[in-house]
Amino acid sequence: MVGWLSMAAPQHEQAGAPISEAEALARLRQSDDPSQQYYAAWWLGRMRCQHPDAVPLLIEALRQRRPRDPGAGVEENAVARNAARALGKLGGPARQAIAELLKVLEDPDDGLREAAARALGELRAEQAVEPICRRLASGPDGAGAPQPGTPRLMEPCEALLEALGEIGCASGSTTHVLGVVEPYVHHERPLIRSAAARTLLRLSGDARWGDLLVALLDHPQLQVRRAALMDLGAAGWRPALEPIRRTLAENSLKLIALKGLVEHGCGEPGEEALLACMDALL
């Protein structure tokens, strides 16, 4: 029996990959086989690797990006994308990558910009607030317009909007950021409206945006209800307890949302009521 004594060392549970840290670092260091690098970058993030070589190697992988060649197999940009995602998960030591991630935020590849925005959000990089706002400033009809012939938008709006909420605002710049984000609550896509409301709620605490997210829990599409659940959780909006309990979606997602209400929220309903609701969903 493993038992409760082994609880302190859970790093290697469900590794998903039978490779060692040394092996992952070696695979990322070589450059002959990008698919090996791709996997290694993912692994380092998944395992939240704290080896001192990890961050410099991931920064090096970020620099492998190049103009897009859709014909190539596992292209260098895919490696860079996974490197950005991994850096977002490595916390404090990865902050030395912020300068390079800010450059990636200006890359012509929108998939890379998306990964960089999410990583900058996770790293709470305040330097990213201005560049992200610049990318969003043209509003739903500019940055938020569909790219012809693809399901993507001109900018990775969801990631950019959510990153602003993650980073938070230095006092003084809040009004400016709110002004950039607010037009997106009228975007034609409900997922973008949800992302915008999440960020506005986190930055302002204004109940209007909580109400907007709660209304999305009644949306006919399951995908939208799921997103609203995640957004209410990220914002820790406790007044949403009862609507979360009632919405038609998997209990697993409701539990994640309620975890967010417990951990990021405050006020009423209190923790005991939230935990009782979670217990009933198990």
């Binding site: 029996m1 493993v2 038992g3 409760w4 004594l5 082994s6 609880m7 302190a8 859970p10 790093q11 549970e13 469900q14 998997e250 209990n251 697993s252 539990l255 994640i256 975890k259 417990v262 951990e263 923790e271 005991e272 935990l275 979670m278 217990d279 198990l282």
Partner: protein
């Protein structure tokens, strides 16, 4: 309500359902009527790969209680999807005949949603009618399975283990060794660590407060 005509009518309606909406509606009717004899068909619905209908069937099976246990235990172990729902039903019913299946699910199932239901179920078994020796045996079995799962890789499973330990602890004698082990498990779950989110810590501490006083 145990009218055989009603049951036959509901079964026919379910068998003839030609869309997933009709199936959902028919399952809800069968699940909510509480008719004895509905259990085998509700168990069959668990394997139809229709999550809405399966949720309704699980509710119906839990409402039927003990009567639903034999068909649930007869499910083909290879029918993975149906088995996951069966674990939820057995966890809600709390019949001790489900013990082995719940222990197995908590220890080995690949889906966190199934492991979390099993953990809750192991703290929710009805033991009051068992002889004292057998009761202790079952409690020990639940305890071992729950303690082993305090190191589960998914927070939601560890959360459910805290809930399960709390439930199990309610029926244990205040000075028993078993209750002391429940406490140790909850202490481990209430330790703040990077990999252990605050919600698990909070829930484990709440469980500690609710245990019988030593």
């Amino acid at each position: 309500m145990t009218d055989p005509d009603t049951l036959q009518e509901l079964i026919t309606r379910l068998r003839q359902a030609s869309s997933s909406e009709e199936l959902l509606l028919a399952t809800r009717q069968l699940a909510s009527c509480g008719v004895t004899g509905a259990a085998p068909l509700l168990v069959e619905v668990l394997g139809f790969n229709n999550p809405g209908a399966a949720v309704a069937a699980v509710d119906g099976l839990i409402a039927l209680g003990q009567e639903a246990v034999p068909p649930l235990l007869q499910l083909d172990p290879e029918n993975y999807g149906a088995r996951a729902w069966a674990v939820r039903a057995l966890a809600g019913i709390g019949d001790v005949r489900g013990l082995d299946l719940l222990v197995d699910a908590l220890g080995t199932d690949v889906a966190a949603s199934v492991r979390r239901a099993a953990a809750r179920g192991l703290g929710n078994l009805r033991l009051e009618e068992l002889a004292a020796d057998r009761r202790r045996e079952v409690q020990d079995c639940c305890l071992q399975a729950l303690l082993a799962a305090t190191s589960d890789g998914e927070w939601v499973v560890r959360y459910a283990v805290a809930v399960g330990l709390e439930g199990l602890g309610q029926d244990l004698a205040p000075s028993s060794e078993a209750l002391a082990r429940v406490r140790q498990g909850l202490v481990a779950l209430s330790e703040a660590a990077e990999a252990n989110p605050p919600v698990v810590v909070l829930r484990a501490r709440l469980a500690q407060l609710r245990l019988p006083l030593p």
